[in-house]
């Protein structure tokens, strides 16, 4: 199947970057300290970014970097036929605990709706869909192991069967996040990093974000050298 990876955005505790454009910024660099609020990552102001939960913030930042890496623009009010699939280890567990403890501390009378909305594993993807105007399929999926490889295969399948023009597939953990842009290779006229089958093979052997960054950066460097 002629489905390819067109961009990858990543975040770590101390840095962020993208693969196709070979960019890497450290939070300790003078010019990128605003990255924590996302100001130098997003194309237009992200209203109420501060109210998002941790996973939603990381998801939106990683998606912004991935779309930029693939040369896909976005603007307020415009929507695109792009879908998003996300995975992680614990789902919304952190937000679940925060919501329920807050509810108990209130004497089991009032709970906070703005905490409750993040108690779905798909909520961070929903926040990304709203900001970036992603109108394609949206789902969270996970499995015991090799979850990112599995959702990459799902994204490839959905692209191949025209369920969306492009799919974002990614993983967001507490300190690390990575999102891939998956598209049909022949349709886009854009630069291609690698075939999706090669990507799935790498993800079957490399489950961590640092490992993923290293492997795909090597592919990009290999291409640049040619």
């Amino acid at each position: 199947m002629n489905i390819s990876i067109h961009g990858i955005g990543w975040l770590r505790k101390d840095a962020y970057g993208c693969i196709m454009k070979e960019k890497r910024s450290s939070y300790t660099d003078g010019g990128s300290v605003n990255a924590r609020s996302g100001k130098d990552i997003f194309h237009y102001p992200f209203k109420n970014f501060g109210r998002l939960d941790t996973l939603s913030k990381a998801t939106c930042r990683a998606v912004a970097l991935a779309l930029d890496d693939a040369g896909i623009g976005y603007s307020p009010g415009s929507k695109q036929d792009i879908g998003i699939i996300g995975t992680n280890t614990a789902g919304s567990l952190q937000s679940d605990v925060q919501y329920f403890k807050d509810y108990l501390e209130s004497g089991r009378t009032l709970s906070r709706a703005n905490l409750f909305i993040y108690t779905l594993p798909s909520s961070p993807l929903g926040e990304a869909a709203i900001y970036f105007g992603l109108q394609g399929p949206l789902l969270y999926a996970t499995r015991r192991d090799k979850a990112l490889a599995a959702i990459m295969a799902m994204a490839a399948d959905m692209t191949f069967h025209d369920e969306a023009s492009a799919m974002l597939a990614g993983m967001v953990e507490e300190d690390d996040a990575v999102f891939f842009v998956v598209m049909k290779g022949s349709d886009s006229g854009r630069s291609v990093l690698c075939n999706v089958d090669s990507a799935i093979e790498i993800l079957n052997n490399t489950g961590t974000v640092p490992g993923i960054i290293k492997e795909f950066s090597n592919i990009k460097k290999g291409k640049s050298l040619r």
Binding site: M1, K79, G83, I84, T89, A90, G91, L93, D96, V97, Y99, F100, K101, Y103, L104, R108, T109, L110, S111, R112, A113, F116, I117, T119, L120, P121, S122, S123, L125, G126, E127, A129, I130, F132, G133, L134, Q135, G136, P137, L138, L139, Y140, A141, T142, R143, R144, D145, A150, M154, D157, M158, F160, H161, D162, E163
Partner: protein, 386 residues
Amino acid sequence: MPQKMEGGRVIPTVKAVVVASDMITPYGKGADVCRDGLFSGRTAISGLKRFNTKSFQSDQAATIDGLTYHQQDSLVIQMIRSLFDGTSAAIPEDANLILASTKGEIDLLEKNILEGTGDVSLCNLRGLLEKVSTLTGVKDPGTVVSAACASSATAVARAAAMIRSGRSDCVLVIACDSVTEFVYSGFSSLMAIDKSTAKPFDKNRNGLSLGEAAAFVLMMSETRAKREEREIMGEITGWGLSCDANHMTGPSRHAEGLVVSIKKALQSARINERAIGFIAAHGTGTVYNDAMEMKAFQAVFKDGKRPVYSIKGAIGHTMGATGLVEIIIALRALKEKMVPPTVNLQEADEAAHGWVSSEQCPVEKNKKALMTNAGFGGINAALILT
């Protein structure tokens, strides 16, 4: 891959069929019990005794009798165990497994936090998946799919895609969610619960009622189903998934996201809207959801009205399980050529007038069913059933 090209598009040649199913709902165990309950017009929503509701919007919910709360097993495990107690159809051990849920064993997390014991880190969907995999006896460790209240429909769409693309010829889809203090307090904080009982598509609807359920469908390629001489209960003919990209908790008032889903589903099934005989709607009973759905139906079905019903006035909104229960009931309706009444409907909303009914309605011959779901995050799902 078993498919052909047509007009530059990939056309699958494999059919994804349903060969077995079961459910446990607030009416009791089994699809027959649920079907009979729906056709009786009697709601299973009643006073909630599981936890204290005095601070909430309502004290009503649809729960399953006989489940124990905050004991060793979670509510959803008790429900799922009842589905695989040997009385249901045999599940092939080579089946792929997809589990659909929004909150899984959230009652175990409540228990751990309230009692200060246990390990909350185990209270996630992966943990539930391991337990479910063991209960069903399938070899596949499985995949969890969670897409808010469209989780079931999304899971079935993925299962059908796996079968159509030839990556699997047998997929077991299980869905579950339960009524817990966690979930009830959350929906109450969103002011989403009707003080009495949900009245989908009614002029005086004022919110949803929460419910709980677990269900499964066993899907196969038509080839394998025939080879194993399985009874074919229906086919997942097409699907469409989309997102409103509009608001976290409310649907788009213009319904464009659901319209996209329905059109994608029709395209996937290679049919036009005239082939649809009835609509198994999401129909939560909230003002905005039901208005949005009717707007979408009116936009797509310009050729005329057809029967629309919701089962949520009967068994409540069973969240991640709702789509799977609705699929099984819709397949029954196709077979019996009769759709159930919309329970609790007294006076149809103006937009729904002539579409919904408090009475059962006949279905035209040789027609297909459309099933729709929507959820937080603006998620929409539409399935075409034959």
